[in-house]
Every structure is written in C-alpha cells, then in structure tokens.
C-alpha cells in the first residue's frame, strides 16, 4: 500500500469543485457594467426581443445544451416580448472569443438594445430564468 495522500487530495479538491459546480450552474450573474458589445439581429441570427433576448451558445460535446434549449424555447413561447436565439459555438468562434464564452451551455441575457446584462452557465432552472428576465429593466 502506497501513500493515501494523492487520493485524499483528489477527492477533497474535486468534492469542493463539484459542490461549487452544482451550485453555480444555471445561476444568473449580472454584469457590473454595460459596456459590452451591442449584439444585433444580424449577429445572433434572430430578431431582438422588445424587452429582452436570451442567446444560448451550445457545442457538440454537451449534454445539458439540449435540455437548456428545450426549456428556453418553451419559455419564450408565452413571452412575446422576450426572444430566444441559439448559436453553435464552434462555427461562431470569433463571436465566442469576443464575448468570452468559455463553457457550454452559456446563455446571455440581452436588454432591448442588444447589450448583455448578464449570463448563466449550465442549464438554468425556470425560476432562475424568470428572475434574470425580471432584472432586465
């Protein structure tokens, strides 16, 4: 039997990370300042909503992307002032870099002007989406 120190380190570190990961997925994080780039209908491939737009970035090796898409598409059906756009991250690398998208799914929340007010990484819960949308003036 060799040392138990490596496995202790791995299990402690990954448990700590796992707890943070689980808690932070889907959580809306507001941007501190609204100086980001303005996204237009042409860039995101869908008309901007009159109140807000949710822009989801997805990739191929991502199981929760599908669930997120289903949830958000379903939610906007009953909210005419909110629009939804879905972007494949791999084929929009320049945009991904400009917006600093690091993981998928990442959903950006844009105000009516097309400026990001915050984002959520991972699959958000229904309540988290509603809260994020309510925060957009």
């Amino acid at each position: 039997m060799k040392s138990l120190i490596p496995i202790a380190i791995v299990l402690l570190a990954s448990t700590a990370y796992g707890i943070w990961y689980t808690r932070s997925r889907g959580e809306f994080r507001a941007k501190k300042s609204l100086h980001g780039p303005t996204l237009t209908a042409q860039i995101i491939g869908a008309e901007l909503g009159s109140k807000a737009t949710m822009v989801q970035f997805s990739s191929a090796f991502c199981s929760p992307c599908r669930a997120t898409k289903v949830l958000l598409e379903h939610m906007v059906e009953t909210m005419p002032e909110i629009h939804y756009a879905h972007i494949d991250a791999e084929s929009h690398l320049e945009l991904v870099r400009k917006l600093d998208i690091r993981s998928t799914p990442t959903t950006l929340f844009l105000n009516s002007a097309g400026v990001e007010v915050g984002r959520a990484m991972g699959t958000p819960k229904r309540d988290q989406v509603l809260k994020a949308l309510a925060a957009i003036a």
Binding site: M1, K2, L4, P6, I7, I9, V10, L11, A13, S14, T15, Y17, G18, I19, Y21, T22, S59, A60, F61, C62, S63, P64, C65, R66, A89, E90, L93, V96, R97, I101, R102, S103, T104, P105, G122
Partner: protein, 147 residues
C-alpha cells in the same frame, strides 16, 4: 447492438444512465490504481477508455455490465443523451491514461500519480455531480487550437 443512422446529422442517443454508471466503475478502478500505484490497473482502464473513445461508450465492458446487470433492475423513465459528450470524456480519459502509463514506464512515478489523479477527478465529478467534461473544456481546447 445494431444501430441505424438515418442521417449523419442525427446523432446516436444512448441511455444517459449508462455513462453515469460507467463513471462510478471508472472512479473505483482509478482510485485503486492511485492507491496501489499499479501500472497494469491504469493499462486496463486505458483499454476501456480506448474502446469508449473509438467505438463509443456504449461498447465498453462497463456498459455491458450496465445493460445486463443494472438496467433490468432499475425502473423509471429512460433519459437518453447524445453519445458524443461521454465519448469525448472517454477520449480525455484515454489521454490521461496514456500519459500516466508512459510516466510509469519511463520511471517517473510522479507523472503516473498526477495523470491518474486528474482522470480520477474527472470520473469522480461525473459520477457524483453529473459533471459534463465536454461542456467545460471542449470549447476552451477548441479556442486554443484555432488560435
């Protein structure tokens, strides 16, 4: 297991519980490798990773155990998932296994310990927290590669 793919754009879907079960077994095997320091255990896990990476995660011995022993005993609605995310994770596991075995053969046990440790962390996160490795690292790798 025969699969008919109608269109190339329609990805194969598998029972989502299969990869999660496999992650539990992978965690146990890699933990044993890390504690014992035995290279052959990492070689064996590396072979499982290779099957998962090249043929698909539904063809590994772990998936076979899931289908024959576990699946018939669990109830509830079957949640399916795209085969590509777990397949990607298997490829990452394979890279760590190859690096770990190479380190061991080169007489540098620290490399074996670190590589096995990372593979174990990923498998454990998947098993315990449903961590999606592809979601977190694929885009970063893609961004770096196309830099």
């Amino acid at each position: 297991m025969t699969q008919v793919q109608t269109k190339k754009t329609t990805p194969t879907v598998i029972d989502a519980r299969g990869p999660r079960f496999s992650a539990v077994l992978t965690t146990l095997v890699l933990a044993t490798a890390l504690i014992s320091g035995q290279t052959w255990i990492l070689v064996a896990q590396g072979i499982v990773f290779a099957i998962g990476a090249f043929r698909g995660p539904q063809f590994t011995p772990y998936a076979f155990i899931f289908r024959t022993l576990v699946k018939p005993r669990i109830k509830g609605a079957v949640k399916t998932e795209d085969v590509r995310p777990p397949q990607f994770a298997q490829s990452v596991g394979l890279i760590f296994a190859v690096v770990g075995v190479a380190g061991s053969l080169a007489g540098i046990p620290a490399i074996f310990t670190i590589a096995t440790g990372f593979a174990l962390a990923a498998a454990f996160l998947n098993a315990a927290f449903n961590f999606c490795l592809g979601c977190e690292i694929y885009l970063l790798i893609f961004r770096l590669r196309k830099a």
